[in-house]
């Protein structure tokens, strides 16, 4: 591919042009991040009069705290479940759509809508659907003899946030999967059909391996999403409860910092989250460089 280079006559101009973006990044991302790192090494007294530098104490306390370790494992369960659920459902939908795509674009458009819905709205939507007193699903489940109350039952609360968070991400995954499926040449599946592979075998031995770049990309994106982008959904549905059952790492940063006012611990937690994001992004970039290799 050819890249076109522009030569600026004035040496200063390119920097001036970059300045607005750099300023935004510095003021709203880099500076707060540095502040968080700084606060994570400090302790503030209850009245905010004095801050003491305490090295890694916030971190060591965190990992000694069963609540935090508990939240770590809940986050893992949540992220893995959301990733698997949303990717499997969207792949299923993408395969279904791919068969009819030439004739039906409306279907695709409809399936993309959830992505445009704000997280809090998604949360409230599912909160209503699963609401033990007014929701339609608990009503039907009672008919089946299942006692549904995510306000009391932690596992049910977890299922609720997993479904809500997955539902929102399905459309995003779906778009990528459809694009990926469209790029698998039809002649390959035809050759496989002649080679004696049935529809399922064709899917698992030909289509899925050829989709692996897309799948890997979505895997990282979905883990990132589930871990860091689901605050709104959790806040609107369960607020981390009941009894910490849906208190994921991101939600805990907010709960400890803004509700519990333990700024030092909250800052340490966000620094740990930042490290996880950096690690995931690094994996993603390394992979994208080699994505053409099957």
């Amino acid at each position: 591919m050819q890249t076109k280079r522009t030569i600026f006559p004035n040496k200063l101009l390119p920097y001036v042009l970059l300045l607005p973006q750099l300023a935004v990044t510095l003021i709203f991302f880099i500076w707060p991040a540095l502040q968080a790192v700084k606060s994570s090494f400090e302790r503030e007294d209850p009245f905010g009069f004095r801050t003491t530098f305490i090295w890694f104490e916030n971190y060591t306390r965190l990992f000694a705290d069963p609540n935090y370790v508990n939240s770590l494992s809940r986050t893992a369960v949540f992220a893995v479940s959301v990733t698997i659920l949303s990717m499997c459902v969207s792949l299923l939908l993408a395969v279904a759509v791919n068969r009819v795509l030439r004739t039906n674009r409306i279907y695709t458009t409809l399936l993309v809508w959830p992505y445009a819905v704000a997280p809090v709205v998604v949360g409230i939507l599912w909160w209503f659907i699963f609401n033990p007193t007014i929701g339609i699903l608990p009503y039907m489940m009672r008919g089946l003899g299942v006692a549904w109350n995510p306000r009391v039952n932690g596992d049910q609360a977890m299922i609720l946030v997993i479904i809500a968070a997955s539902w929102k991400q399905i459309s995003y995954n779906f778009l990528f999967f459809v694009a990926g499926l469209q790029s698998v040449p039809q002649s390959l599946t035809e050759a496989a059909a002649i080679d004696g592979a049935g529809p399922f075998k064709r899917f698992f031995t030909i289509v899925l391996p050829l989709l692996s770049p897309t799948t890997f990309f979505l895997l990282i994106v979905n883990i990132n999403y589930a871990m860091f982008d689901t605050f709104g959904i959790i806040d609107a549905t369960t607020s981390g409860g009941p009894n910490q059952a849906t208190n994921t790492l991101v939600y805990k940063v907010y709960a400890d910092g803004f509700l519990g006012l333990n700024i030092g611990s909250s800052a340490a937690q966000s620094v740990i989250l930042m490290l996880i994001v950096i690690a995931l992004t690094a994996i993603q970039f390394r992979f994208i460089e080699r994505r053409v290799q099957y």
Binding site: A193, I194, D195, G196, G198
Partner: protein, 344 residues
């Protein structure tokens, strides 16, 4: 080993008719080439035989068995695609084995067949490479290999050589012919390259607009084209087609009743007098030397353009008046209203 029978085969896409009633019997071990202009329904026909396209009406029999409702896998055919359709994530060996594994062939048998195919096609050293590490010609061989390891009842080829450069195409054409002779597998081969068609075919099927124009050996089709379309499609440069009036006095030519067009091959028009030949005055317009022979473009005094292919490089300059001699036996008589030969 099998025969293939197509009986009154039709394919409609909505209101457009891609294939409009084809009848064809392919003998066991025969190589049939389907040839015709772009969009005439060759691929559609082949894909119906493969089972990749549904049949609108008609019957397809492979080895005496009606396969219209059978899945592609159940038809015991192998297909070589224009873009090769090799599985990019598998090695060459994986590509060759895939069809055999799906059919539960024992390991020892798979290895025997893969090694045999690799030897025949000289792709042994590439067995552990991925398709993207191969050249176009090598990919073509692997695609062939994938077809032959299956030892199917019939091979189907859809323009398998059209992605290769001219030299490699000639070489692979010869190899496909040899291979087919050796394996004696019934084959249907689609191409729009008439040289490929003429050299490969046991019999040619010339198609146009979803219909068969003529079926016959390459020599039959060349020597006695059944329709005006075949006359103009087969042969390079194409046959000259003239209205009878352009010949002047047709008394001695004994043209059959109804004839209003005649065709003459470019190499059947001469610049020297021949006994019994009709003489037509003309003017030279262009001389194209193409190696051993030359193409001479003439305008007859009747106003019609013709092409002669003449041996060597005659010293004729543009604008020179010449006389063309045509022997009556070299004329192909046609009726332009039906488009058919009148001496059939």
């Amino acid at each position: 080993m099998a025969t293939i029978n197509l009986v009154d085969l039709h394919k409609d896409y909505g209101n457009s008719h891609a294939v409009r009633g084809i009848n064809l019997s392919v003998a066991d071990g025969e190589l049939i080439v389907l040839v015709g202009p772009s969009g005439c329904g060759k691929s559609t026909l082949l894909r119906m035989v493969a089972g990749l396209e549904t049949v609108s009406s008609g019957r397809i029999e492979i080895g005496g068995r009606d396969v219209v409702k059978a899945e592609p896998a159940e038809r015991d055919i192998a297909m070589v695609f224009q873009n090769y359709a090799l599985y990019p994530h598998m090695t060459v060996r994986g590509n060759l084995e895939y069809g055999l594994k799906n059919r539960g062939t024992p390991r020892a048998e798979i290895d025997r067949r893969v090694n045999e195919a690799a030897e025949i096609l000289e792709i042994g050293p590439m067995l552990d490479r991925k398709p993207r590490q191969l050249s176009g010609g090598q990919r073509q061989r692997v695609a062939m290999g994938r077809a032959i390891v299956r030892e199917p009842a019939a091979f189907l080829f859809d323009e398998p050589l059209s992605n290769l450069d001219a030299k490699l195409r000639v070489q692979m054409r010869v190899e496909i012919r040899k291979l087919q002779r050796r394996l004696k597998t019934t084959s249907l081969y689609v191409t729009h390259d008439q040289l490929e068609a003429m050299t490969l075919a046991d019999r040619l099927v010339v198609m146009n607009g979803g219909l068969v124009e003529q079926i016959g050996t390459p020599t039959e089709v060349y020597d006695r084209p059944a329709t005006l379309f075949v006359a103009s499609f087969i042969g390079s440069p194409p046959m000259n087609l003239l209205p009878v009036s352009a010949l002047g006095n047709t008394q001695g030519l004994n043209l059959p009743a109804g004839t209003d067009m005649v065709g003459i091959r470019p190499d059947q028009m001469h610049l020297e007098p021949r006994p019994g030949a009709t003489a037509l005055p003309a003017t030279a317009e262009l001389l194209e030397p193409i190696g051993g022979e030359s193409h001479l473009h003439l305008r007859l005094d009747s106003g019609h353009s013709v092409i002669l292919s003449v041996p060597g490089r005659p010293s004729i300059t543009e604008g020179t008046a010449v006389t063309v001699y045509i022997e009556p036996a070299a004329l192909h008589p046609f009726d332009s209203k039906t488009g058919r030969r009148t001496d059939a």
